[in-house]
C-alpha cells in the first residue's frame, strides 16, 4: 500500500519516555527496560460522574468553546473609573439589598449574613433597633438578591444597601462591574457585625471616603487594574488574603489627586478628611481587595455564556451554600453546603466559633488569584501552618485544574509562569481535586465579626452537578462510560 508516507511512522522507534496512566505494573515494566516514565496520579472521578465526564469530553465544541471563553477573559483590561452610590449604580432602593453568593432567603441565612442584613437595615434607617431590623427581615419585607446578578461583588456577607458607595470598574467595550468599599477588619458589617460603631463607619464611608475617592479618581483618570494586579502578584500579594502591596500601589497612585481635591474643594473636602482617608487606607491592608474582586468579576463575566464550554465563571458563597457558575450553562448556580475553613483564629476564638465559608471573594480564585496564586504570596501560607514549599505546591496543584495561564499575572517564584487560569469543571471532576480558596473566617453568631482567616475547599458536589448539566446539553456522539 503506502501511497505517501504513513503518518504514524514516528511511533516506530524505541520510546525514550512514555506517559502511563493506570496500573503501576505497566509503569514498572517500562522502567525495568530503562525507559523514562511519566506516571499520571490518576484516580476515578466521583461515583456516578463517569458518563458525564465521557460525554463532555466527546463534545466537539468543548476545546474551541473553552478557548473562546478563556480568550475573552484574558482580553479584559479592567480599569477603575469611579465611585458612586449603589442606588445609582445598581438601582436598588428602600428595603432592597444585595448579598454574597448564590440566591438566599432570610430563613436559610447564617449568623453573619443575618447580622449584616440587620446592620444594613440600621444603617439605612429602615429600623431603629437590631430586634426591629430582624423582625423586618424575617417578615419578608427585605428583598434579597445576589450581587452576582447585578454585575457586583462583595466580600464576606457582601451586603450592598442603596446608600453605600461602590467602586466602578469598566472595560474598553463599556461593560462594567461594581464592588463595595472595604471597611477594614474586626467588627465590620461584612463579617456580620452591627451596631453604632459599624453604622458610624459606614456613614463616614458614604459621606467622606466615597466622595473623596470619587473626586480623586476622576482627577487621576482610569487606573489599569489588570496591570496593578500584575505588579502586586510580583510583590507578594495573591489578591485575596493579601493585598498589602496592591493597596500601597493604589495609594501611591491616588494620593496626589486626593490631596488636590482640597484645591477646588470639589468634594467639600477638608484637609482633615483627606488625611483621614489616607490613614484609613493605611490601616487596612485589604483596602484593595474589593477592587481586585471587581476586576475579577469583570474578567470572569467575559467568559460567561459560551455554549459548550466547561470553564468556571463564578465561585461564590452565601454563608450557607457554595455555588458555582459555568460558561456553558448560563446563569444557573450549582450549589452544595459550604464547608468551614481551616485556619488561624483571632484572640480567643476557635473552630467552634466559625461560620461556614462566606463571600463573593472566591471570584479572585475564579480568575487565578487568591489560593491559585499562593506561590507568589508565601507569607499567606502561615495562616494554615504550611511552609513556602506548600505555597508553591498548592499553585502547582491548581495548574492541574486550569486550561491556561494568565498572560500578564505572572509568578516570579515559578519562573514567571502565569497564574493558573480558567478552571475547568471537567478537570475538577476528573481529578477529584477541588480548587483552593483563601478566605477570612466569620463568626457564626450574628454580630461577632471576623474570627480568623485560612483556607477552604469548595464541595465537589457543585462541580459534579455542574458537569452533569454541561453533559446534558453536550453535542456528543455516544461513547459510553458507566
Amino acid at each position: 500500500m503506502s501511497i505517501g508516507a504513513s503518518p504514524v511512522t514516528d511511533l516506530l522507534v524505541a520510546p525514550e519516555a512514555v506517559i502511563t496512566v493506570g496500573a503501576p505494573t505497566l509503569d514498572e515494566a517500562l522502567a525495568a527496560q530503562g525507559v523514562a516514565t511519566v506516571p499520571v496520579e490518576w484516580r476515578p472521578p466521583p461515583a456516578g460522574s463517569a458518563a458525564a465526564v465521557a460525554k463532555v469530553t466527546a463534545d466537539p465544541r468543548l476545546a474551541p468553546a473553552n478557548r473562546t471563553a478563556i480568550d475573552r477573559m484574558t482580553a479584559v483590561r479592567p480599569r477603575l473609573v469611579d465611585v458612586r452610590p449603589a442606588a445609582e449604580l445598581v438601582g436598588i432602593g428602600r428595603h432592597q439589598l444585595l448579598h454574597a453568593g448564590p440566591p438566599l432567603a432570610w430563613g436559610a441565612a447564617s449568623g453573619p449574613m443575618r447580622g449584616a442584613i440587620i446592620g444594613a437595615c440600621l444603617y439605612e434607617g429602615w429600623a431603629d433597633t437590631p430586634d426591629a431590623a430582624e423582625g423586618l427581615a424575617a417578615s419578608g419585607a427585605i428583598e434579597l438578591a445576589p450581587c452576582h446578578d447585578h454585575a457586583s461583588v462583595g466580600p464576606m456577607a457582601g451586603i450592598v444597601s442603596p446608600s453605600m458607595p461602590m467602586w466602578v470598574l469598566e472595560e474598553a467595550g463599556g461593560r462594567t462591574s461594581r464592588s463595595t468599599l472595604n471597611e477594614g477588619l474586626g467588627k465590620v458589617l461584612r463579617y456580620g457585625a452591627f451596631g453604632d460603631a459599624v453604622t458610624e463607619r459606614l456613614r463616614w464611608m458614604e459621606r467622606v471616603l466615597g466622595p473623596i475617592l470619587a473626586s480623586g479618581l476622576r482627577r487621576h483618570g482610569p487606573i489599569d487594574v489588570g496591570a496593578l494586579i500584575a505588579s502586586m502578584v510580583a510583590m507578594g500579594d495573591e489578591g485575596h488574603n493579601r493585598n498589602r502591596a496592591g493597596t500601597s500601589l493604589l495609594v501611591r497612585a491616588l494620593a496626589p489627586d486626593l490631596v488636590r481635591t482640597l484645591e477646588d474643594g470639589d468634594a467639600g473636602s477638608r484637609a482633615g478628611d483627606v488625611a483621614d482617608v489616607l490613614a484609613f487606607i493605611d490601616a487596612n491592608d485589604h483596602f484593595l481587595l474589593n477592587v481586585v474582586m471587581g476586576a475579577a468579576k469583570l474578567v470572569a463575566d467575559a467568559g460567561a455564556e459560551v455554549a459548550g464550554s466547561s470553564v468556571v465563571v463564578a465561585m461564590a458563597r452565601n454563608g450557607t451554600d457554595f455555588g458555582i457558575r459555568v460558561a456553558g450553562t448560563g446563569d444557573r448556580w450549582f450549589t452544595a453546603p459550604a464547608a468551614v475553613p481551616e485556619g488561624l483564629y483571632l484572640g480567643g476564638f476557635g473552630p467552634d466559633d466559625a461560620n461556614p465559608d462566606i463571600g463573593d471573594s472566591a471570584i479572585t480564585e475564579t480568575v487565578g488569584l487568591g489560593g491559585f496564586a499562593m506561590a507568589g504570596a508565601p507569607a499567606i501560607v502561615q495562616l494554615v501552618g504550611g511552609d513556602v514549599g506548600d505555597a508553591v505546591g498548592w499553585t502547582e496543584l491548581m495548574y492541574e485544574l486550569t486550561l491556561a495561564e494568565h498572560p500578564t499575572w505572572t509568578l516570579p517564584a515559578l519562573g514567571f509562569r502565569g497564574v493558573p487560569f480558567g478552571i475547568d469543571v471537567l478537570r475538577v471532576v476528573r481529578t477529584g481535586v477541588a480548587p483552593i480558596v483563601n478566605t477570612g473566617i466569620a463568626g457564626r453568631v450574628a454580630g461577632t465579626g471576623q474570627v480568623g482567616a485560612g483556607l477552604v475547599r469548595p464541595p465537589l458536589d457543585c462541580f459534579t452537578a455542574a458537569l452533569a448539566a454541561v453533559a446534558a446539553v453536550a453535542e456528543s456522539a455516544e461513547v459510553g462510560g458507566r
Partner: protein
C-alpha cells in the same frame, strides 16, 4: 538608520526583566539603541531624549523602541525581545519547583513533550477520556484497558485517523516498539519482523516461536481484539500495516488475529497485497493456520529454517493418565482459541466460556461432568476488578488443584504460562504445587511456556520448575494441545517433528 517603536497595551514586566531583554537585542549586529520599558512619564522622557518620537503610552503599557541600520534589523530586535519575554514565562526555573505528579494525561503531556506514547490502563469506563486526551496532545496511545465500549473505540479511532495518530487497543495486551515492550511483552532481539496484532498473547506466542528459531521481532503493534470487527472496521490494523510497510528495517509483516469480520478481512488482505513488504496472515480459527504454522511461514519468507519448537519432558517413561476429560486453562485468549480448535478437531465437542458456538458455551464457573472443558481465564468477564491471570496466576492454580481433587476430575490438564515484562515474576512457582498435586492424583499435565531466553523470569528456569512439578512443557501452543489430545486418546506423547495439518 531606522527607528521602530512597539507599544504593547497593558503588558507589564518589571524593569529588571526589561533591561535583560534590552541587553539581548543590543547584541544584534546593526542595532544602535534599544529601550524596552514601561511607558512611565520618566521613561517616555528618556525615549524622547534618545531621539525617539514621544510614544502614545501610559505607565501600564510596554514600550519597545529600537534604532537600527535597517527596518529588518529593527524588527528582528523587537522580535528577539518579545521572544525573550515570552520564554521567561514558559521555561526553565519553574520546572525545578514541580512537586507532585500530574493528575491528567494532558498535564503529563505538557510536562513531557518528548513522550510520544501514552499507555492507558485505567478501568474501561474511564479509558476513553484519558486516551482521547493523549491523541489530542498529539501522542500515540496504547489502551491496555478492557471493558471499553465499542462506541468509545470507534470514536477514539476516528479521532486518531483525523489526527494521524495510532490507537493500540482497547484491550491491547502487547506492543513492542523497536525492542521496548509496552504491556505484556517478551524480551525479543530486534530483527526483521513486524507484527500487527489484534491478539496480545497470539503476538507473544509468535514472537517466542520466532525467537526460538533465532528470528528477531522489531515491532509489535497491538490494535485490540475488536479492531477487525465490522463495527470498528480494522482502522488501527490498516494504519499499523501502512506504518510497518514504511519501515525499511521490517522485511516481513505478520498479521495476528482471531478470525476477523469477512469484509474487514477483505480490506486487510487487499491492503496487504499492496504492501511492498511480504505479509503473512495468521488468522487463528477453525480454518486458519496455527500460530506455529504462521511462524514457520514467516521463517520461510525470510529464508530461515524453522525447526521443531523446543520442548521439555519429565525424566522417565510417561505413564498413561487416569481416565477423564481434558481441562484447558488459559490466560491468553488466542492461545485458548487455538487450543480449542486443535482439541475439537480430534476430540469432538469441547465446552468453553469463549466458544464461538453458543450451544457449546458455558459459564466460566460451570463444571459439566465428563465433558472436555477449556476456559479462557483472561476473558473480560473474569478480569473485571481482578488482576489478569498473567499478572497473578492464583486463579489458574486454584482450578488445577480443584481438577486434581474432584472425583472423576480431569484426565489431562493443559495450560499456558506466559513470561515477559508485565507478567508474574515467577509463575512456575505459583503453579507448581497444584501441578504436582494433579500429577499425584493421576492426571497428566501439559504446559505451553510462552517466553524467550531474555525474559526476566528465565525461560529455562521456568521450564525446569514446571518439569519438576511433573508437567510436559512446550514452547508451541499447538504442540501442547496436540499432546493433550494424544494423552486423552491414549496415543501417548506426540512424536517430535510432526507438523499440524493445514486445512
Amino acid at each position: 538608520m531606522t527607528e521602530s517603536v512597539l507599544v504593547a497595551r497593558g503588558r507589564y514586566h518589571d524593569s529588571v526583566t526589561l533591561m535583560r531583554a534590552s541587553a539581548v537585542a543590543r547584541d544584534i549586529t546593526g542595532v544602535e539603541t534599544v529601550i524596552a520599558a514601561m511607558g512611565t512619564e520618566l521613561n517616555r522622557a528618556l525615549l524622547v531624549q534618545a531621539g525617539f518620537a514621544a510614544p502614545d503610552a501610559t505607565a501600564d503599557d510596554l514600550v519597545v523602541a529600537v534604532l537600527a541600520d535597517s527596518p529588518a534589523t529593527a524588527e528582528g530586535a523587537i522580535a528577539a525581545i518579545d521572544r525573550h519575554l515570552a520564554e521567561r514565562r514558559t521555561s526553565g526555573s519553574g520546572v525545578a519547583h514541580r512537586r507532585g505528579k500530574p493528575r491528567t494525561v494532558e498535564s503529563a503531556a505538557a510536562r513531557a513533550p518528548d513522550a510520544g506514547v501514552v499507555v492507558v490502563s485505567v478501568p474501561g469506563a474511564h479509558a476513553y477520556v484519558e486516551a482521547i486526551a493523549a491523541l489530542r496532545a498529539g501522542r500515540h496511545v496504547m489502551v491496555f484497558s478492557d471493558g471499553v465500549d465499542v462506541a468509545a473505540e470507534v470514536a477514539l479511532k476516528g479521532e486518531a485517523t483525523a489526527l494521524g495518530r495510532l490507537v493500540m487497543g482497547p484491550d491491547c495486551g502487547t506492543t513492542i516498539l523497536d525492542g521496548v515492550g509496552l504491556g505484556f511483552a517478551n524480551v525479543v532481539v530486534p530483527g526483521p519482523v513486524g507484527l500487527v496484532a489484534a491478539s496480545g498473547t497470539g503476538a507473544q506466542q509468535l514472537c517466542c516461536l520466532l525467537d526460538g528459531a533465532g528470528i528477531g521481532v522489531r515491532h509489535v503493534l497491538g490494535v485490540g481484539g475488536r479492531d477487525l470487527s465490522s463495527a470498528v472496521g480494522g482502522v488501527s490494523a490498516l494504519a499499523a500495516l501502512a506504518a510497518l510497510d514504511d519501515d525499511p528495517a521490517v522485511e516481513v509483516i505478520g498479521v495476528v488475529s482471531k478470525p476477523p469480520d469477512p469484509a474487514v478481512a477483505e480490506a486487510v488482505m487487499s491492503a496487504a497485497a499492496q504492501c511492498r513488504t511480504p505479509v503473512v496472515l495468521a488468522l487463528v480459527g477453525p480454518v486458519g493456520p496455527t500460530l506455529t504454522d504462521a511462524a514457520a511461514e514467516i521463517a520461510d519468507a525470510l529464508g530461515v529454517t524453522f525447526g521443531e519448537p523446543q520442548q521439555w519432558r519429565p525424566p522417565g517413561r510417561s505413564e498413561l493418565p487416569r481416565p477423564g476429560p481434558v481441562l484447558g486453562l488459559f490466560s491468553g485468549g488466542t492461545n485458548a482459541a487455538e487450543a480449542l480448535v486443535v482439541l475439537e478437531r480430534r476430540l469432538g465437542p469441547v465446552r468453553s466460556n469463549v466458544h464461538p458456538d453458543p450451544l457449546r458455551r458455558i459459564a466460566p464457573f460451570d463444571s459439566p461432568g465428563g465433558a472436555h472443558v477449556l476456559l479462557d481465564l483472561g476473558d473480560d468477564e473474569l478480569t473485571a476488578g481482578r488482576p489478569h491471570p498473567m499478572i497473578d496466576p492464583t486463579v489458574v492454580a486454584e482450578r488445577v488443584a480443584a481438577a486434581a481433587d474432584a472425583d472423576g476430575g480431569a484426565g489431562v490438564v493443559v495450560l499456558d504460562v506466559v513470561l515477559g515484562h508485565g507478567a508474574h515474576p515467577d509463575p512456575a512457582a505459583a503453579l507448581a504445587p497444584a501441578l504436582t498435586a494433579a500429577r499425584a492424583a493421576g492426571a497428566a499435565t501439559v504446559a505451553v511456556l510462552i517466553g524467550t531466553g531474555g525474559d526476566p523470569q528465565g525461560l529455562d528456569r521456568q521450564a525446569r520448575a514446571l518439569v519438576d512439578a511433573g508437567a510436559t512443557v512446550h514452547r508451541s501452543n499447538a504442540r501442547a494441545a496436540e499432546e493433550a489430545v494424544a494423552l486423552a486418546t491414549g496415543a501417548g506423547a506426540v512424536p517430535v517433528g510432526t507438523r499440524s495439518s493445514r486445512p
